[in-house]
């Protein structure tokens, strides 16, 4: 009997959680308007914070977000099982063509990717550049004492240990950004590996998640890996500096990541890669993360609520970003997005 009750209540709970996208009515006077979204895991902490804060001032709107991964977010948006999607990489032309209507991209915050390593006797941050990182991840530079590393790090005593390359094993926006940067700096890397959330790495071991990569790097003498800046900051992991386009070795920070976005000429569809930007103080391995919305949604009530939320998130919401480790958007990008939001009908 008890079990039956449990089953019944579970079933009711499930029904209550069902997405209600099909009911295209305006907000009912009783319950709040529910908007469902799905996508990237990277921005999940800031999105959760935003939805929470937004609901405090707008009790009639409830936004649910499932961090199932960028690929899943795009898929569900295309299938229209969610109202909005989110992705760490912009949708490809083929993906846009497969969607039932025009999809708009809205950058929300920025993230960076940093190289982490475990080299005996090295305490000061090591310097890297794109070509060197590419050659390490291609398996061409195999020892820490390699002249290519020594040349960038004069005065640093480098041991002759083998480099143990660690990369992500799970599909990830972090891998996408890292490969995007390496592909721009190394034609060889672009041709042999390319850019995607999962790639065919010629060398190294794969570890799951930022915690897997940093854990393995910490354990393994001579290891190098790459993790999200936010993860390195929160766990106080030391990381190397990377040379930007103007030749400066820049330490990744929220400011230097925001600077990367500031110097970029923004296309009208916001689908832009900001790795290796021109700005003098920019950290070169940075990227936007995007929210994805249909330009002509059939559900006007939800659409209006979502546009209102985004306007809030792009302005008032940005102040929550640094505390959670995300770099806020530069002002010109926000201004351009506010114009684009008007296109949603």
């Amino acid at each position: 009997m008890k079990r039956t009750l449990l089953v019944v209540s579970l079933a009711m709970a499930l029904v209550a959680c069902q997405p209600k996208e099909s009911t295209t009515t305006t907000a009912s006077p009783v319950g709040p308007l529910t908007i469902n979204g799905a996508g990237a895991t990277f921005p999940n902490p800031i999105y959760s914070k935003w939805f929470d804060e937004y609901q405090k001032t707008h009790p009639n709107v409830r936004i649910n977000y499932q961090s199932i991964g960028s690929g899943g977010g795009i898929k569900q948006l295309t299938a229209q099982t969610v109202f909005f999607g989110a992705s760490d990489g912009p949708m490809t032309d083929a993906q846009l063509a497969a969607a039932p209507g025009p999809v708009l991209h809205f950058p929300t915050v920025l993230g960076g990717v940093v190289p982490v390593y475990n080299v005996e006797g090295v305490t000061a941050p090591l310097r890297f550049n794109g070509a060197l990182l590419a050659n390490i991840y291609l398996g061409k530079v195999t020892k820490w004492s390699d002249p290519a590393i020594a040349q960038l790090n004069p005065g640093v005593k480098l041991p002759a240990t083998d480099i143990a390359v660690v990369h992500r094993s799970d599909g990830s926006g972090t891998t996408y950004i890292f490969c995007d940067f390496l592909s721009k700096l190394s034609p060889d890397f672009k041709q042999k590996v390319g850019v995607s959330t999962s790639v065919n790495w010629p060398v190294g071991v794969g570890a799951k998640g930022n915690e897997g990569v940093s854990g393995l790097v910490r354990q393994t003498p001579g290891a190098i890996g790459y993790v999200e800046l936010i993860y390195a900051l929160q766990n106080k992991i030391a990381y190397g500096t990377v040379q930007n386009k103007s030749g400066k070795f820049v330490t990744a920070s929220l400011e230097s990541v925001t600077a990367a976005a500031a110097g970029v000429t923004m296309p009208d569809d916001f689908r832009v890669s900001i790795t290796n930007p021109d700005a003098a103080d920019a950290y070169p391995i940075a990227s936007f993360t995007w929210m994805l919305l249909y330009q002509h949604p059939s559900d006007h009530a939800r659409s209006a609520a979502m546009v209102d939320f985004l306007k809030w998130a792009l302005n008032d919401g940005q102040k929550f970003a640094p505390a959670l480790g995300y770099a806020p958007l530069p002002q010109p990008v926000v201004a351009k997005e506010m114009q684009a939001l008007a296109k949603i009908q």
């Binding site: 690929g71 799970d170 995607s196 959330t197 790639v199 071991v205 799951k208 393995l216």
Partner: protein
């Protein structure tokens, strides 16, 4: 009259439930095939035999994953089977009565530990230990293909070890029950003929041989499908190599790793086809073990197994 109609209803009802099992198996096979059609038509049988796994260019071959899955499971089986049988024989035949229940309980408890816990233990305790072992391997040994490779800690050896630890409780629990159910008349007959204890145990093992093989195959099945603990320690690098030190990859691990971010249709279909291959291999392994048991039963005219009641109540 009434009774026979009840019987029929009962038979039909339970038959329907049994049919559900068949339906589920066929349904899984059908759905996996349907959802991987793009990859099946594009790569055909080449999918089984090529080694490239390149999501960027859309070129997929599953050989390294098939290799890694079978290799790690077989290694785990080689490591686990003697230990599991040893545990089972000790508990059912040799251990003092007082220890019997606690030991059986503890092995069953090991089987209930979630695999993520094994994985964490693997990453933080076992992998550093394996790395030390690999560093300490003499250079003369490293000339053999089996021990070639960098001392990373993560790799095939770590995966086989963790799988072995996870498989032991399964195989030993089942083997223990089989030995427990060998009629005491078998042992008594052996003793009556002047057998030593060891010889009597051999008779009991021979009697339960088919069941024990079943226990081992159950462990093999578990090793084939194990996902999270393996992906945490195997190094996730698709390559076909006999080396124990090199990182490799398994079928279940690549699905778990790449499924969430696979947005491209062909990529998704290729991942699902890996699931289909895993399904086919698992079914195949099960069928082979059934055949093995069946052929063994046919050779030995097995007496009817009578559960020993006094043992069960003790």
């Amino acid at each position: 009259m009434r009774r026979s109609s009840d019987d029929r209803k009962f038979r039909l009802g339970t038959g329907a439930f049994a049919a559900v099992v068949l339906l589920i198996v066929v349904g899984i096979g059908f759905e996996l095939t349907r959802q991987s059609m793009l990859s099946i038509t594009k790569f055909g049988l080449k999918f089984w035999t090529t080694s490239t796994w390149d999501p960027v260019s859309g070129d997929f071959g599953a050989l390294p994953f098939i290799w890694g899955t079978l290799y790690s499971a077989i290694l785990a089986l080689l490591l686990a089977t003697p230990i599991a049988l040893g545990i089972a024989i000790f508990i059912s035949e040799l251990s003092p009565r007082m220890l019997r229940q606690p030991l059986a309980y503890l092995t069953d408890l090991l089987a209930a530990i979630p695999s993520i816990v094994y994985g964490l233990w693997g990453v933080f305790v076992m992998v550093p230990f394996v790395r030390k072992l690999e560093v300490a391997t003499p250079d003369a040994l490293k000339q053999f293909p089996l021990f070639k490779g960098p001392p990373l800690g993560v790799g095939m050896l770590a995966a086989a070890l963790i799988l072995a630890v996870m498989v032991i409780p399964f195989s030993s629990s089942v083997a223990r029950e089989i030995l427990k159910n060998v009629p005491s008349t078998q042992r008594e007959a052996a003793y009556a003929l002047g057998a030593t204890r060891w010889e009597a145990i051999k008779v009991a093992i021979g009697f339960g041989k088919s069941g024990i093989i079943g226990a081992v195959m159950l462990g093999f099945g578990r090793a084939l499908g194990e996902t999270i603990a393996v992906t945490m320690v195997i190094g996730n690098s698709p390559q076909v190599t006999a080396s124990l030190f090199k990182p490799q990859y398994t079928m279940a691990a690549v699905i778990a790793n790449e499924f969430t971010e696979a947005a491209d249709e062909l990529y998704l279909h290729a991942l699902i086809e890996i699931g289909l291959l895993l399904f086919i291999i698992t079914v195949g392994v099960n069928m082979i073990s059934r055949l093995l048991i069946w052929s063994m039963k046919r050779r030995v005219v097995a007496p009817i197994v009578v559960p020993v009641i006094e043992e069960a109540t003790a």
